[in-house]
Structures are given as structure tokens and as C-alpha cells.
């Protein structure tokens, strides 16, 4: 432990000095998108400190503030809201911060689930081949023939049917994670399978087999670390897609409940008022979603180029 601490500064220094970080610094797209992502994630994380109110707490809402435009004081209470207030008098800015928490949480958790399933199945499929491979990959193919949002809705519907009605709102988020996670394992599995098939024929894997190592140590100790860089890239891009998928589901009314609005729920609420002049309820959540998805996506794109040895 003491040794680990002693080594820590050296490791940070080495990371800052690495070619990877050097490339990062020289790419304005990477720096800007990373900064934007970082800013958004941090503001979601510290939402309770930044927000003026807790939008999930009905006691803090004042219906008299409903439909207050941005920056102008409310006609009834005199309160001012940076991005205005929605139909129930919730501060849009605060609601976005809290909504982003839900969107990001669902996104991260769903990608983690998809990654765990996909990487495991991809490794097994690629390493063993034969019937195992055929069965896993045909299931993946079948799933790919449906749009993933449709698959997510299907899983969401089935899972919802199994949850008791009184817990439905509380469990909605977990059901959302499950449905998005299960709908995007396929791309992880495919990429990892391909990379595994390349790696397993390399001589270091044969050397491990010669020593007498079994299949599991070889898969997880030798092959897994060598197929991780494409996984990292897909995970980043998947995060953007998962956030959008969550927003889409919530927009369609099958995702996060109105009492715990995510960005998608906010957009759904807002679009009802777009043509009656209360544009801010739709506009600010949409811009936030755009910024979040775009910056994560650009970061993933840069990561793909930076980690691809062919483009070096």
C-alpha cells in the first residue's frame, strides 16, 4: 500500500507524458469535447449544489410560478428563473441538472450492462468457435434485424408487466437500464468476437496453451486486455446512443416517469407547449441533450482514431 502511494505521482507524471495524452492535447476537437463532457457530467453530479431548487420535491414547487419566461420575474411571485419555469412551476435549469443525472446514470449503467454481456459472449464466441459461436451470433443477428429502440421498448414492456404496479415508478429507471443494456450488447459482442479471433491465433496465446493454461485464464488474462481498446471506443459512442435511446423512450412516454423527469421526459413535456409560445420548456432540455450526445460522440470518434494503429 505504501509502495503504491509512492508510485502514484510517477504514474500520473507518466500518463501526462504519454503519447496518448500528447495526441489529446494537440487535437482541439478532443480537448473541447472532453471539456464539454466533463462540464456536463460534473454539473449533473453536483446538481444539488448548483440547482436553485429540488424539482423532485413537490413541496418546493409553487404552481404560481408556472410558465415564467427565462430571466424575467414571475408576474405573481416575483421569482426569477435563468431558463424559465415549466408548467408546474419547476425551475427548468434545476430540472435539467437533475434530469441529466438520470440520463447519464441510465446511459452509463446501460452501457456497462451491454458491455459486460457483449464482451463476455464475444470472447466465448470468438475463442471457442464452432456451434457455440454459431448459436450466439445467430441470436445477435436476429436481434439486429429489429431497430434497437424497438427491442428496448419490447423488453421495457415485458419487464414492466412483471413489476408490481405499486413499485412501477420506482423501478422504471432500472427497467430502462435493463432494456437499453440488453438492446445494445450485440455490437460489443461482434467487435470483441472479431478481435478475439485475430488474437487467439497469435503466438502468445499458443505459448500460453503450451504452458498448459486452460481456456478461462487464456481468455480473461491474455486475450481480454488485448481486445479492450475497440471496446473502449464503442463504449463511448454507445454512451451517446444510450443517452439518446433513453431520451427517446422517455419522450415516447415509456421511460422515466414525470415525477422523476429525465431529459427525454422534459422534452416530451416541453413539446406540448412549443406552439403556445412557451419555447423554453422544450428548448433548453433539447440543447442540453444535443450538447451531451455530441460531445460524447466526438470524444468517442477521436478515441477511435487515436487508438487505431492504422491511422497513425
Amino acid at each position: 500500500m505504501i509502495e503504491a502511494i509512492k508510485h502514484a505521482p510517477g504514474r500520473i507524471k507518466r500518463a501526462l507524458d504519454s503519447d496518448f495524452f500528447w495526441k489529446f492535447r494537440r487535437s482541439p476537437v478532443a480537448v473541447i469535447s472532453f471539456a464539454a463532457t466533463f462540464l456536463l457530467v460534473m454539473s449533473a453530479l453536483f446538481a444539488p449544489l448548483l440547482a436553485t431548487m429540488n424539482p423532485f420535491d413537490p413541496a418546493s414547487l409553487n404552481l404560481m410560478n408556472g410558465f415564467t419566461p427565462p430571466v424575467t420575474p414571475s408576474a405573481f411571485t416575483g421569482e426569477t428563473f435563468l431558463m424559465g419555469a415549466d408548467d408546474q412551476g419547476r425551475d427548468v435549469f434545476s430540472t435539467i441538472l437533475y434530469g441529466m443525472r438520470i440520463s447519464l446514470f441510465v446511459g452509463f449503467a446501460a452501457v456497462t450492462l451491454g458491455l459486460l454481456i457483449g464482451v463476455t459472449l464475444g470472447l466465448i464466441s470468438g475463442y471457442f468457435g464452432g456451434w457455440t459461436d454459431t448459436i450466439i451470433m445467430r441470436i445477435a443477428d436476429v436481434q439486429l434485424t429489429f431497430p434497437s429502440i424497438l427491442v428496448a421498448m419490447l423488453i421495457f414492456g415485458v419487464a414492466k408487466g412483471f413489476t408490481p404496479p405499486e413499485y412501477r415508478d420506482q423501478l422504471a429507471i432500472w427497467v430502462l437500464i435493463l432494456s437499453i443494456g440488453l438492446s445494445d450488447w450485440v455490437q460489443f459482442a461482434r467487435v470483441v468476437r472479431g478481435a478475439t479471433m485475430v488474437e487467439k491465433n497469435k503466438e502468445y496465446v499458443q505459448a500460453a496453451r503450451l504452458i498448459g493454461r486452460g481456456a478461462m485464464p487464456i481468455i480473461f488474462r491474455h486475450i481480454l486486455p488485448n481486445v479492450l481498446s475497440p471496446v473502449l471506443v464503442i463504449a463511448t459512442i454507445s454512451l451517446a446512443l444510450a443517452i439518446i435511446a433513453e431520451a427517446t423512450l422517455s419522450f415516447l412516454g415509456v421511460g422515466a416517469p414525470p415525477t422523476q423527469p429525465s431529459l427525454g421526459t422534459l422534452i416530451r413535456i416541453g413539446q406540448g407547449y412549443l406552439f403556445s409560445g412557451e419555447w423554453w420548456i422544450l428548448f433548453f432540455p433539447s440543447v442540453t441533450l444535443l450538447a451531451l450526445a455530441l460531445s460524447v460522440n466526438l470524444l468517442g470518434d477521436w478515441l477511435r482514431d487515436a487508438l487505431n494503429p492504422k491511422l497513425r
Binding site: D19, Y204, Q206, R209, R213, H222, N226
Partner: protein, 568 residues
Amino acid sequence: MALLNIRDLTVEFPTRRKVFKAVNAACLTVEPGEIHGLVGESGAGKSTIGAAVMGLLERPGHITGGTIAYREDEISGLDDEAMRKLRGRKISMIFQDPLTSLNPLFTIRQQLTETIIANLKVGKVDADARALALLQRVDIPDPETRLDQYPHQFSGGMRQRVVIALALCSEPEVIIADEPTTALDVAVQAQILELIRDLAVERQVGVILITHDMGVIADTTDRVTVMYDGSVVESGPTAQVLGQPEHDYTKSLIAAVPRPNRKVHRFPQVSYGGRMTSFAIEEIAKGWPVREAPEGALVSVAGVTKRFAEKGGLLPWQRRHFKAVDDVSFDIVPGEVFGVVGESGSGKSTIARVISGLYRADGGNIYFDGRLVSEPSDKEAIRAFRQDIQMIFQDPYSSLNPRMRVDDIVAEPIKHHGLLSGHAAKLRVGELLEQVGLGADAAAKYPHEFSGGQRQRISIARALATQPKFLICDEPTSALDVSIQAQILNILKDLQEHLGLTMLFISHDLPVVRQMCDRVAVMKQGRIVELQETEALFSDAKENYTRELLSLMPRMSDVSDEVQLPDY
């Protein structure tokens, strides 16, 4: 007047930390009809010169000094457009890999005529006739039919002939051939080199032949330029440079080339540039267990057959197989080095993998130390076998896990077999790394921080970790430079002599086999055609196929036998 005149060429690659000088003030001239060899080890800058002449330098590399002149015109300062015209028309290039130099989607006719029309401004009928004549010239049998075939229908050697025909389309005056025969078998290599030779004389084309192979240089070139670390160290007529080398580097390079015609006890170590690393064989021998040599054979291969699916299928009768190894039997006695030679596709690597257990045999048995090891039923025999055999692979870049630290790589066999644990294992790994000449501080590094030869030493350390009885070497040096090859082969010889290790040595390189092996099996299409004592095989081969293989070895008659090595 020289066709191509390169003066003081300097090429630099600015990288993050420093500017890397790939070529440093190199001079080179090519006359019409002359083959000028450019030889050096990897990283010497020989391919960079070729790329600079063609204007194909990969960014961020660029020419920072000197001139390249074609006849009287300087071409190094030309813009892309002017360079493109010259490149297609007057200077052509032949690359190493014939598979990727041809477009797989077009027939040979389409590729040849397109190039001819673009460069020579002739009509379609005329271009067609020229394409046919070119294929005939490069000795492709039945050229009318072959013209309408696709690249995948040609064998490797035939494909390289097509690539040469393609390079001749624009009637160039200079051809740059970058390792044109490295991917080919010896037999095919000899034919291709002869073709290049004939074409140079017949069409008065100047050829720059870039290669790492001294044998190719000796048999093919008129003049040779030796490069080391970006600089030209020696240049002159081939017979003179190889016969009476002047520079120390040339001397040590020539000394390291395995000779086809005689057996040496040890290879002279190339020590130029301070790359010599010691190998502490006595230390290893001290800790080595003394074992009773078993009676009879250590490894016994009995009627082994291995098939691979050529065409898969759901139903058994839809599948087609070819036999990579076909009813092969031989014994390896304790303490000997048993060689297997053959061309690519002869099944020599497959037999090594079957013996090691990486592939399961489809027929026949393998016995090790008298116990059957080709059936997984006897768990105890398999476990002991895994500890007693190890393998050294061909490619030092893929045989070490890039994400594992060197100490973990070397410790893996020790820990897996439960030989030592914890601190004792760590000490043992440090010792092993020290003994193979890497030093204990190599432990905390990753494989990419080492050169090819150093990686092969790490492989050797890993192979020695379980103190095996039997070592399989599958082309252990064919990916290495000659000077490194000499070091690694010496290490293997030492291991065999001092530890009494038994070895199976797979190679396509006959001179190396002659230096290393006690007995040699010659394989062809999955079968052993001849098995003899090494010296008997080289002096008095019984089979025609063996004699044919032997006749294709580079003769190296010009190469000086007695090079006085400088002392360091």
C-alpha cells in the same frame, strides 16, 4: 551519365521528442543495365531511400538535404504533379508483397492495359498486344488464358511475375525493387531474381535492389551499397565489397551470414555498434537438474496425420480436407537437434504444432519419454509433458502478450506449474532475465520496449522457466536480422550443448539448418521425402527433391570465407 544520381540524401522524420534521421547523407548512382544492391539490417534506412526516390515518403518524413537526379534533371524538389508523371513513366517500383500490389477486383489484362494506355498513349488494340508480350516476357505459361484471370488465381511467384510485368508497362528506365523475393520460397526466389537480372541487361534498365539478404546480393547484384543506421558505410562492386570488405560493419555482417558449404562450431558474434549482450550459459547450467537420459527415443512420432478442412459443411460428405501432414513417423533421440526443412506449405510447422499438442492429430500417436501424449485421457502424463516441452516461435512481435509485463510473462509457466511462488518466483524470473542477457531491470517493462532480438531472448527465458527437456524451435530466427540471428543461434547451440536439451528445429533456411542440426528430415507436401544425418544430406542427398532444394541455396561464391573480425 548515370541514370539515377543520389547525392548526400538526408531524410528526417520529426517525432514528438526528437528528429529521427532515417537517412544521413547517402550517395548512390545507378547506371543503365546495372543492378545496384542496397543492403542493411532493419532500420538502416534502405527502404526510405527507395521511397524518397519515388516521392512516396510517409508523412511526417521529408527530404532535408541532398539531391536526387534522374539523368540531368533534379527530381527531389519537384511538386506532386510533376513527380507523379515521372514516377509512373520513368521510375517504377516492385514491392515485397505481390498479393497487395495487385488489385483483386480487376483481371490482369485490365490492370496491364490500363497502365500501358495511361503511360504510353497507345490505342486499346496495341495495348492489348503489349500486355500479352509482357506476360510472355516474364515467362508466364499460357499467357492468353492467364490475361483474363484475377490475381487470386495466380500463385505467389506467378503474381510477383505479373507485378514485374506491371512495372515494365510504362517502359521505365529505373526500377526500384524493395525486398521483391522476401515473401517467396527459395525455388521461386531464384527464378524471380534471374528474371530481374535478364530484364536489366536486355532493356538496359537500372535496378535498385533493396534487400536484407546477403545471399541475394551475392548472386544478383553488380554493385552493392551497405547501410548502417541511416548512413552508407561501404559501396563498390559486389565482388570487391563481399570479397575484401573494408568497413568493420561490413566485415561483421558478412561473418554472421550462415554458410551453406561448411559447418562452423559457433557463429562469429557481430559486435558492431556495441549491440553485443552476454548470455550466461554456465549460470543456467548450474541450476539445471541432472536427468537420466531415457533409453531410446525421447520423442516418438508414429504415423501422424493431420487434416485441415478445405471446405466446411453441415454434413460430413460435403466437407473436403487436405492432408497437411500425411503419415509421418520419426524418432528424436535425447540430446540431438532434429531439423525439419521444407518449402512453405510442406507441413513442417504443422508437425511441430501436432507434437506440441497445439493441434490434435487426426491419426497416429506421439510418445514422449515413453508415454502416450497425443490422447488427453492420461491427465498426469499431459501435465508432466506440458512442463517438459517448450516452444520458441517465429515472430518475436506476436509471441509475447503486449499487455503483460515481462516478469509476468516469464513467471507464468513457473506459477502455473506451481514450481515456485511469491518471492522465490520473482527472484527466479530476475535470474532468468539476467542469464539471457537482458538484466533484471527488464522485468518491469513491457514487450514493446524491446527490439526483435531482445524479445526472442524473453521468449527463451520463458521457455527455460520450467527447465524443460525438449525445445521446439519453429523458424526462431527467420524474422530477425543476420547479426541478431547469429546471437540467437549461438544461444540455442549453447543450450543444447550445456544442458543436453533435445530440440526440434524447423526452418526453411538450409544454411542455418546445416549449422544447427544433427539429423534433418526434408518434407514435401506433408510427407517426409528424406531423413539423414546433416552432413550426409548436404554432401550426398539421395532424393531428387532434396538435391533440387540444395541447388537453390545462394552460392555466395564471391563472399569472403575468412573475414578478419575486428576486436572490440
